[in-house]
Symmetry: C3
Subunit: 151 residues, 3 copies
């Protein structure tokens, strides 16, 4: 096991995977922040102490909250596959330089994607960072299937 | 490979990861149960045999179904990162006692979170179990980055 | 590490996991395709160049887009747990024939599930492929807990 963590590619993968997953997890508190500042909640028990009138207002969707949630969802749809395919990719023993290129581009893309989504940067900034991130996953997936193929 | 499963930390991780992932997967049938008992479906083909009037009624969202779906979504946002970061954490060879503490707190939190969400326990019970679970993920992520860091 | 990829079960797992994750990731471009052809977007910046009147029309939800998104969500809820539990299962060293049976049934089910969802095949085709896929995850999870149990 210690052997695995002595491998340079696996260490690099572990570092970048931890960074992007932690970033994704922090979308939760960001959603909570927007829910509180924008006054938009999803559950009745979250606004239990308010008057009936206030409750109705607080249980409506707010565009800013929905935006953070879409960003979070997009992370789930891309960061999770990156870690899953990236793990298999790292285990197939690729070149360190090639692996680093994949991990760095993906991590950069996703950090930029979040900024572009939350601060409403004009398109195609968000679209391109999404596509580039997805291509990295596909490239690693292709490499994995090319090295290890047993149907 | 067998070596990996002889490691105590990895065996503990495997046990807790399997438990929380299976719990998450079972949110699917729970959603189906609420959809059927509450009469609230998402797809036209699911209510194909009903009359036009009934279809309209059955294709409306129901608060109980939406609640289970939000709970499922929250699991996706937390249980999946736990398993991903937890796997890397287990591979960095932490102390068994420290690892068990992380795994047990997280598993307890998520089981309680589901109960609190579905049975509508008053806040902050759900909020606290969510935050504590997230702190466990962050703590493991920090430990991983602290042990293995290669950018 | 190379040892891991010489193991037949692990190679089979890697192959099937890469296939289903890549399939899931490609739901993203499929959603984009439906968004463009059906004229239904989620973000204001995606329709920035259009007139105010057109914007309102383009920012409405379209049933076909929502269908692809539900299909993508169902993949997240099932493909990700399959890879997570499947990885642990592969590491417990099951029989190759038994492992292949699990991986093949799941992969077949999920490919069929996507076709059934997108092309609106009559029920219970979609429902059965979902249930069968879930049973495969549960069976692997049971096998994992049966082999490695350390609470």
């Amino acid at each position: 096991m210690a052997e695995l963590m002595e491998n340079q590619v696996f260490r690099a993968f572990t570092t970048y995977a931890a960074i992007v997953v932690l970033k994704m997890v922090l979308m939760g508190p960001l959603t909570a922040y927007f829910r509180i500042t924008r006054g938009s909640f999803a559950n009745e028990e979250d606004v239990a102490r308010k008057s009936e009138e206030e409750k109705k207002k607080l249980l409506k969707a707010h565009p800013d909250v929905e935006r953070v949630r879409r960003c979070h969802q997009n992370d789930l749809e891309n960061v999770v596959p990156f870690v899953l395919v990236g793990l298999l990719y790292a285990l197939t023993g690729p070149e360190l330089s090639s692996a680093l290129l994949h991990f760095r581009i993906f991590t950069g893309c996703r950090l930029f994607h979040t900024v572009a989504y939350i601060t409403v940067l004009p398109q195609p900034s968000r679209g391109l960072s999404y596509i580039l991130g997805m291509l990295v996953i596909c490239s690693m997936g292709y490499s994995v299937l090319n090295t290890v193929f047993l149907l």
